[in-house]
Symmetry: C2
């Protein structure tokens, strides 16, 4: 048993047994490449991810959307492989492969059978190191990305979510949409995306994580060979790029109320306040709070809004944390005529939590929910692969299940109430999409601010 294991950037080799029977190993190559694996006995498949700690928040004006644009282009061909070759490599073994661009990282991943590890390493390495960013492919992909943005714009929950981040985060880079806007994508140049690629996809940026049926030594040899073949200079010493540090940013709220008027059946509502950083010690308290407040069918929001009143089909809360900021949000989709009532209910439930706190029963239930869900999630190599990536990039430590449960057990009802009080005192932002009048939330919000 290890509890929490730190990941120092200058430590070449580290291995430890995580809770249960899995073995985690971590290697830092002299070039700064980091390779982490978690061997899960009995597994016949694996999930592999290539991570760089760069996301939409790191983009400079004039480059908005370039991280996501680049992510698309890495699938479009290298010096050795066409786009079709890349697709065929994974499709022909029935593997899943994809990528995601987030606000603070980009990850290219694949899930394959154990025998396909070396193929996955070769192809992902080729994409990461040797993409052509061919000008013709660049123009085709611009069209694809514009369609992706158009699809998101036709999804009212997506639109509400983007506007909600803008509202809570204001001018902070975390407030920007990940994919940019149609205008920035129309204006994007190959030169800018190429520059982004060269600047951020270097040995010291790269983190490779694998979970499942994997042997660490085989993995390290495969990744090293593939990177060397691609011409990366692995003999050149470089310190890995440090993880994101967690000094809280100054957040200034954007518009407190954003209404996107559309002729829809439902109003999509998001209400919230600034929250906690990803590495905040109170993250576990936030998980407990979120579980009790809006995390499942037994949560307060679900019971009050859906079960007792039938006002919504989908209603929940969420609390994403980033390196220097976070937020706490509540979502519901309801009929436009009830939008004011639903926002009022959400805010009054938050106040009730802040003032009345939580019951012992609720604490016990949240603890069971979080520990049970953590155990279930570990059945999945995807989850373990992601956990390794987050541990390396965001947290700088690996917290195993036993340690997570120990920290969970330390959270008190008073911790939860105090955090709720802090949230309830925050500046409230509302973002809504639907057939709504401009003043639909005016009286609710002025009452809440009294």
């Amino acid at each position: 048993m290890n509890g929490a294991v730190e990941f120092p950037l200058d430590l070449a080799e580290l291995s430890f047994r995580a809770a249960g029977e899995s073995l985690v190993r971590r290697s830092v190559l002299p070039s700064g490449v980091r390779i982490l694996s978690e061997h899960v006995p009995g597994s016949r498949s694996l999930t592999i991810g290539y991570w760089v700690a760069v996301g939409s928040r790191d983009e400079q004006p004039g480059h908005f959307g370039s991280t996501h644009f680049l992510e698309h282009l890495l699938f479009k061909g290298t010096q050795k492989r066409t786009a079709l070759d890349i697709a065929v490599a994974f499709d022909s073994v029935g593997g899943e492969h994809n990528a995601m661009t987030a606000k603070e990282y980009t990850c290219y991943y694949a899930k394959v059978q154990d025998r396909d590890l070396s193929m996955a390493v070769e192809v992902l390495t080729d994409m990461i190191t040797s993409s052509l960013l061919d000008p013709v492919e660049f123009e085709n992909e611009r069209g694809v990305i514009l369609e992706e943005l158009a699809m998101a714009d036709d999804d009212p929950a997506d639109v509400a979510n983007e506007r909600f981040f803008e509202a809570v985060m204001g001018a902070h880079p975390l407030g920007r949409p990940i994919g940019g806007s149609p205008e920035t994508i129309q204006a994007a140049t190959r030169a800018a995306v190429w520059e982004h690629y060269r600047a951020n996809y270097r040995p010291q940026d790269l983190v490779v994580t694998v979970a499942g049926a994997v042997d660490h030594d085989v993995l390290v040899a495969a990744v090293t060979r593939a990177l060397a073949l691609a011409g990366w200079d692995l003999g050149q010493y470089a310190a890995p790029v440090a993880r994101r540090t967690g000094h809280p940013a100054q957040i200034s709220q954007g518009d407190p109320v954003t209404i996107v008027r559309r002729p829809l059946e439902q109003a999509n509502l998001l209400v919230g306040v600034p929250g906690l950083l990803a590495a905040d010690d109170r993250r576990v308290t936030m998980s407990v709070l979120n579980s009790i407040f809006g995390g499942g069918m037994s949560s307060r929001l679900f019971q009050e809004v859906r079960e007792k009143r039938g006002l919504a089909y989908s209603v929940y809360s969420f609390a994403p944390g980033f390196s220097d900021a976070g937020l706490f949000g509540m979502y519901a989709g309801c009929t436009p005529a009830k939008a004011g009532q639903v926002v009022e209910l959400m805010l009054s439930e938050l106040n009730r939590l802040a003032e009345g706190g939580v019951t012992a029963d609720e604490m016990k239930r949240a603890s069971g929910q979080l520990s049970g869900a953590s155990a279930l999630a570990l059945e999945d190599s995807d989850t373990r692969m992601s956990r390794l990536g987050r541990s390396e990039i965001t947290l700088g430590e690996f917290v195993d299940l036993d340690e997570a449960l120990r920290r969970l057990a330390l959270v008190t009802a008073e911790d939860v109430r105090r955090l709720a009080a802090e949230l309830a005192a925050g500046p409230i932002s509302v973002a809504a999409v639907g057939a709504l009048d401009d003043d639909v939330f005016t009286s609710v919000l002025s009452a809440a601010r009294r």
Copy 2:
């Protein structure tokens, strides 16, 4: 090794080793209740499903949407448990629990750790046998379902899909939307839903399937005890309700072109023809065809529509099969100005498949994709639980991985071409949602029909 194992309705006990190391066991109780389990060594969790072979297609006029309405109500309280009790039971162990209503079945399921099996059996049994359908809860839930329908109506891909089924299936009951319409839900009475409950949730209708960390004898004892406690007469002999039989229905196409005009960024397009029944011997050929044609990033549709031309972000084909009918469909989301071009491309690709057939490379790739994806899917207890349910309800036989691969190996390129020719000769239906003119597909379709 067993290959395909038949599930005779009058056989009390059956057990066999499926490909790999898992053990499948099936018990038919005298009352007609069927219990199937697949023990997967090394697993620490399980997925459990309670199935009845009744879906939206079985509803009579005046009852449209009642299957789905009932599914919601089973979460709303029994003689022993309130809605909150049910939610708390699963939430407090971190389990996932939900239900789905399909066109030909309804399934209530949960994923829990192995130690929570008896809780899951008790609560699911209570829901299935002893729901109150309380009149006050009924009214609240009417509101929730109306919100669910409103949410679906705000999702253009959902709307296109519903209209596409109507277009291909015409007046056949499979053409109806699963959830009913706002009008039928507004008009639904508790008496009608109660009648539906009493008529379809009987011992001879019930199929319980579990996959993962499960001991069959323990499972059978737990289900039997819970059903007896609920007052079900398990001593009364009843033959299990036979699986759905597969005589092909007469399908008469609805409107060949359906356009739902909406002020959206994208046009959501569905184009297709009638397809194969779920139990058709050519289902494996259809899987190969679909893999080559529109099943992955290397497929023809993806390459032609997205990779070469940048016309869409999401583009694929699909081929759902039901007991007496099926369909083959192609989907793309694109800018409205290109809608005609995209439909033309889809149809010309289908014709090219019908006329030119497929290459040996494509056959090999499809075989690798389907076999690899099947192997990966088996890592998931959800997939195995569903496979048991479908085997019992739809197919009447269990096909293990080895047998599936043997059948796959028998499919020839000529089989695929011949099936493509059959599809290409079918009556084409188009359903589209977006900012489109009424005649946007007129010339494309008249050319295709020449």
